[in-house]
Point group: C3
Chain length 352, copies 3
């Protein structure tokens, strides 16, 4: 009885950090659809095609498949596709069958993220991509990574919407007693599909993640303002300042923590993460510290969620959860995800 959250198909999802897509073929699976991604030689546009050759279904992202200019040459029998997915060469004959074509997916590159649309292409509106401008803005420095997790994507949504786990799972890194102790405020915009969870700690211990990077030595005021744009984009607006100086912008440190939660397949999710700051931007040591420290934190989540998925998968029958106040945001997120999944399954009305 594994835990599975339905997929919302008609939505934008992050398939890759921009720097991951280049002239090497990159295989990713989004909502169960295998994709091959690359950039054109001509103008660097990101391309996302279905990752299976039409002939005998060899994965186009796997060697010896290769790029020939902007065309993909299948590594099994040489079927060759252009950037639209149209087959332009087959072995042993001149005529290419008219139906020889792999699906091409809408792509929108924004804020150093490569978003793809798996559902009905007619509904793909690039202006609907939720933004995370700090990832690619002057004056901001970002560290980032991606970890695949063998768990239902709903477990990662649960994890990120309820930061009380920082105190326990990430103690000694980003958690302190105050995170678990402080009650949250939750706002839900059902129509926009946005969940906001806030936690304001007036007088808190400074966790090593911030103490070592900012140099703040004593107690701090700490704010965590989550803004989750279901299904994929999670923004954590973090602000710390010396305790009592919360109102003084000149003594505060703003950090933007970004996650993109991309369902890969049933029981698999991509955990894209980034930490952006507009302070100490020239300090390479701080940059490396934040990268390494957040990677450690992400791996703590990865280990816990892999374990949790295995545990839930071993349940012999249905199981119950017990939800409390801290789960308000996570439960709202589940409701919104269920609605988006249901809407994505409805037949789309023709434009008249």
């Amino acid at each position: 009885m594994p835990h599975t959250t339905a997929f919302a198909r008609n939505q934008w999802y992050v398939a890759a950090h921009a720097h991951e897509v280049g002239r090497e073929l990159l295989g990713r699976t989004v909502l169960g659809e295998p994709l091959v991604l690359y950039r054109t030689e001509e103008d660097g546009t990101a391309v996302a095609l279905h990752d299976r050759c039409v002939h005998r279904r060899y994965p186009l992202s796997e060697a010896p498949t290769r790029l020939d200019g902007d065309r993909i040459v299948c590594g099994y029998h040489g079927f060759t596709y252009d950037t639209t997915g149209t087959c332009v060469y087959v072995p042993g004959q001149k005529r290419v069958p008219r139906t020889a074509r792999v699906a091409s997916y809408p792509v929108a590159e924004r804020d150093s993220l490569v978003w793809v649309w798996i559902g009905d292409p007619a509904l793909a509106d690039p202006d609907a991509v939720p933004r995370a401008r700090h990832l690619d803005s002057p004056g901001w420095v970002t560290v980032r990574g991606m970890e695949p997790i063998d768990c239902d994507y709903g477990l990662l949504v649960d994890n990120l919407l309820d930061l009380s786990h920082e105190t326990y799972l990430h103690g000694g890194y980003i958690g302190t007693p105050e995170v678990a102790e402080t009650p949250i405020t939750t706002e839900v915009d059902e129509d926009a599909g946005i969940v906001r969870v806030g936690r304001h700690m007036a007088d808190a211990e400074c966790p090593p993640f911030y103490a070592r990077s900012t140099g703040l030595a004593g107690r701090i005021s700490r704010r965590q303002d989550i803004e989750y744009h279901a299904p994929c984009l999670y923004l954590l607006h973090s602000r710390i300042a010396p305790a009592g100086a919360d109102g003084d912008d000149s003594r505060a440190f703003r950090t933007e923590i970004t996650y993109a939660i991309t369902p890969s397949a049933d029981g698999r999710v991509y955990d894209f993460w980034a930490v952006s700051r507009d302070w100490a931007t020239d300090d390479a040591e701080v940059t490396e510290f934040l990268r390494a420290n957040n990677h450690t934190v992400v791996m703590q989540d990865v280990d816990a969620l892999n374990l949790l998925q295995r545990s839930l998968g071993a349940e012999r029958a249905g199981y119950q959860e017990l939800s409390i106040n801290i789960d308000t945001g996570g439960l709202a997120a589940r409701r919104i995800l269920a609605r988006l999944a249901e809407e994505g399954d409805k037949p789309v009305e023709p434009v008249s």
Copy 2:
């Protein structure tokens, strides 16, 4: 079509050797129920709780879950439980929901074994725990271990009830030609759920296991008297003496070989083993030899049973077995296990 023997729920099962349970959280699965075991700081009592937090079902036996005094603090969000399984703390709010509680299982510690009861707690009678007093008696020295096996627990019962396999699987360790050649006697006490299998070899080769530990050089008289208390406790009363001196207690060596057969989950079993002796009790070399030699013997069983389970699992359809005289005890054990499993499934009549 894997081999699966039904579980008898209303029975005592060994969850651990006593020394395995301490102030580190120990995870074990018995009859498919995940358990976390530990000892209290206060008086060293062994505690067995359900190994899943009520909140989001994180395993309580897994780091960073930890003990705080005699309470377990979940490593994910800090839900905290006392020794009865009652939740006494949750994050972010003062009120602990009344239903926040994990199951607590009856525990009986006897003879250096920690027994648990998974079925109806009202039926758990500690006096019904079958005894193996030699494991923890003055004048006896015991070596022991535990190996998990990826097989149906019925295969381990089969294995232990039919010792003719010693000649083939454990040749050069505990098997000699006479074990397979000598006919057995079998007694079954259906009501008590006890199977006795005896094999008395008047003039037999001395296997290395005994030759090296006792110093007996020539032919021996050898008795193997099995006493299987279904479902979990298996006692092998072993006695060897120089051939012809069987009646002379002063020249005989008694060894008690104990197995506890605990079904962990479908296709998984814990093989607890112990070898106890009341001779050469001060000889550390003999102790280490018996430990290492019996561990090797157990691992021969482990390898054979893992293999057998995989083979049976790969059968395309039903399969047949062919049973002969040596299987009389094993077949009786299967009948008793089937009856105990069936009884355990019946609704329990209320005490009037």
Copy 3:
């Protein structure tokens, strides 16, 4: 939705190269039937028995099972079988049950291949074994090997019937651009179950496999004549000569490439391979080069087919293929295999 091609039961299949069968017990699975193979001490005849003891189904091919003369002694409880599969000894009693017998399979050893018949033994005609005489003829030298692949055997049939993949998957070894470019001719003998695919390249690059072994430096004439005897035997008659000298036998090099395609179980196949030549037969360096080079080529297929099977297995629903001219032979092979499988499932009419 894994790819599975039905098994044709009443057919001969290669279970082993002759040199693989000896006095060590060899386990192989053919059409889902586990077999144990060995040679008799008496006259070296190859024996194939069902690989499960009748008693508790221990695999007879696994240690500590062993040969005692020409009898197999089960490593678990010592049940002993003669070359016909008849049980001749059981432990603990004198009488051997009449029904104690494991199946024995017809074996035909031809051309250094050990063929077995899994279907109705009454239909097993050794004269129907398709021949590959070059494997064991004076004047020919052969290198060979076997690789198990975790894929449907139909994928290996597809692979071998369409050599256009040499250009892409085996470029730098046996593939050159001309293989993919040159149209094929296909002949199908539906009744005999033989598919012939020919490709004649008048003026082609010489691939490293032949350039280094023959010493031919320039352009070549190259012929590939496939002769597939469904379901198991695949012969590739290869002939190269300097370009323009195709008609001159004295300047041509004939190489016989043999594959035996033996379905092991659903999603598993044995890929037996051999390369035979009647030129440079005394040159050990050429022998070793051809062995190593063809092994590399086989491993390229193994990797691709393992990958392909995993990809097809991950498909959420049915999938389509697109076939073109080069697939004519492979599609004919699929038709023949489907017919042979269907015929093998029909009840056999009694001989009247």
